[in-house]
């Protein structure tokens, strides 16, 4: 119970910091009436919480699915697809506030469908099985291919477009508005509930597909549900905030150290932890070089890589060995 209270407290502190700090100085007494706070900081903070949480849960579930604790939600090619969609939207100068997120979302879904199809061992017919190892390789391949096309487009683009595309690829929450918050808040509960319902069978899957079957799990439908739900979560995250790396990789690991590997506890812990991490990272991204802004993906990478190195050492040392 105490660790849950601690985690909730962390989220509250992260939210408070995100609302209080920013390039513009807003006196404490004017917080409630300030337009900057109401229309910029609060929706952006909520979006950071939702996106960070989604990425962490997607990461935790994909790690269980591909049975590899080093899986990241973007390892399965979604970032490549989303990046391609976004860069196309920028290059084609599609206008309107939703053009870029929709193009990125479409790109992510396209990559997801392609990876899924490639991951079905034995073709698409009846009896085809989703092979997590093939899924992983297909994700890398699709991501690399999309990345090549993206780079080709960027190399032909004009300087400002190039900079925009480049910044987008590193992730950022500056597009946050109450509308985006609403869309994301309505969207993510469905995949989150699907994943939470799969929490127990995912525990079994850690033993292997056959042992999980013997313990009563319907492994084939389970794998498909988890892959689609986790990808849909990642797709919406990338659509509204670009490619934010390491949240989906690091947070599940840290959550496992504290909450164990049972997904019933792991998912909520990862959601809150991922939300808190992205809130802190986004606040740092806004404040560090104010009035300019760093892409938040740079901050998560700067924090995430050393943490990751630390976890790898623990692993090698046998403390958290699998």
């Amino acid at each position: 119970m105490r660790r849950w209270l601690g985690l909730v407290a962390l989220v509250v502190v992260a939210l408070a910091t995100a609302v209080l700090l920013g390039p513009a100085h807003v006196p404490l007494g004017e917080l409630a009436s300030s337009d900057i706070v109401r229309t910029l900081r609060v929706p952006r903070a909520i979006l950071a919480l939702l996106v960070g949480g989604s990425l962490a849960v997607a990461g935790a579930s994909l790690q269980a699915l591909v049975r590899n604790p080093l899986a990241d939600p973007f390892l399965l090619g979604l970032s490549g697809g989303a990046g391609l969609g976004a860069v196309l939207a920028i290059a084609l100068r599609l206008s309107g506030p939703w053009a870029l997120p929709l193009a990125a979302f479409a790109g992510a879904l396209g990559a997801m469908a392609l990876v899924y199809r490639l991951g079905l061992a034995g073709g698409g017919g009846r009896g085809a099985q989703l092979d997590p190892r093939v899924l992983l390789l297909a994700g890398v391949a699709v991501g690399a291919f999309a990345g090549a096309i993206t780079t080709a487009i960027v190399s032909l683009a004009e300087a400002t477009d190039l900079r925009n595309a480049f910044l987008w690829l590193w992730g950022g929450l500056s597009g946050a508005s109450w509308q985006t918050v609403l869309v994301v808040a309505v969207y993510i509960p469905v995949p989150l509930v699907v994943l939470y319902a799969a929490a127990r069978p995912l525990d079994l899957l850690a033993l292997g597909e056959e042992p999980a079957t013997h313990l009563g799990a319907d492994v084939e439908p389970l794998k498909r549900r988890v892959y689609v739900a986790a990808s849909l979560l990642t797709a919406v995250a990338v659509a509204v905030s670009g490619v934010i790396g390491f949240v989906g990789l690091i947070v599940p690991h840290i959550a496992r150290l504290v909450w164990g590997h049972r997904h019933r506890a792991l998912f909520p812990a990862a959601f809150l932890g991922g939300g808190a991490l992205l809130l802190f990272a986004d606040t740092a991204a806004r404040v560090a070089v104010a009035p300019r802004e760093l892409p938040v993906g740079i901050v998560t990478a700067l924090v995430g890589v050393p943490l990751f190195a630390l976890l790898l050492r623990r692993w090698a040392g046998g403390v958290a060995r699998p």
Partner: protein
């Protein structure tokens, strides 16, 4: 259900793996009743594990039928089946660190509702299973710290936590030393005698199967070579033919025991 219904019944099943050039299993029948210890013996590649897959409805035979507790195997949901049959598979992974009690409590999965929490009855079942496998003292250990014999007892406990009526073990004593082998066979025999469990065990141990099992099915090249009480199945002629090696068979404790002979010298 009456006691006379077979818990597991495979009738004249034939199965060929997709793309295989010959049948992995041909016209094999097997029936296990409550309270029976059935061993399946045979050389490598004789179809033992395939028979298990067919009997548990993991694959569909091209001919013949597989029933579990009087119902066709494919008609069972995996979850319902896991309430009746507990399986200790040949291999498993451990992706994330787990403690013994945690991994054994995974055996309660088929009894839990989708959203519900573990009940005191579930925890009691886990404790009971650990006790029966003499593993209660291990409950707080990390599983990677266990010896091979301890780990097999823990896996057996997980299958027992399912509270099954039939226990299926696929080569449970591979890579165990004599003491742990004997402990495991004694344990399985006690589960049959004391708790009325039915057991289907695939094993390479001709002698231990002969001493502990009630019935033996001997497979060769996917076909039934012999089936029945150990004394009638494990004759010298039969064992030599199936395993393609000269042996002597000596009675011990009223059961046949096999002694493999040295390579016969080239006769002049």
């Amino acid at each position: 259900m009456s006691d006379s219904t077979a818990l597991l019944s495979a009738q004249r099943v034939t199965y060929r793996y997709p793309g295989g050039s010959s049948d992995a299993l041909r016209d094999v029948s097997l029936e296990i009743r409550p309270g029976a210890f059935q061993a399946v013996l045979g050389p490598n590649g004789s179809g033992k594990t395939t028979l298990l897959r067919v009997a548990l409805g993991l694959v569909t035979p091209s001919e013949g039928t597989a029933d579990i507790a009087g119902r066709p195997a494919p008609a069972w949901s995996r979850r319902e089946l896991a309430q009746v049959v507990g399986v200790v598979a040949q291999r498993e992974d451990n992706l994330f660190p787990q403690r013994v009690r945690e991994t054994v409590s995974l055996g309660r999965y088929p009894h839990l509702s989708l959203w519900g929490a573990e009940q005191p009855a579930d925890r009691a079942a886990v404790t009971r299973a650990l006790e029966r496998c003499d593993a209660l003292s291990l409950e707080d250990r990390w599983i990677w710290t266990l010896s091979g014999g301890e780990y097999q007892r823990v896996r057996l406990a997980r299958a027992l936590a399912q509270e099954p009526r039939l226990l299926v073990l696929d080569e449970p004593t591979a890579s165990l030393d004599v003491r742990h082998e004997m402990q495991l066979f004694e344990l399985v025999r006690a589960l049959v005698d004391r708790h009325g469990l039915a057991v289907l065990m695939i094993t390479h141990h001709v002698n231990l199967a002969a001493r502990f099992a009630d019935r033996v099915l001997l497979l060769a090249d996917g076909r039934t070579a012999a089936e029945g009480a150990p004394g009638s199945v494990l004759t010298r002629e039969m064992v030599e033919r199936v395993f393609a090696w000269p042996v002597a068979i000596e009675p011990f404790d009223g059961r046949p025991q096999m002694i493999p002979l040295r390579q016969p010298k080239e006769s002049a």
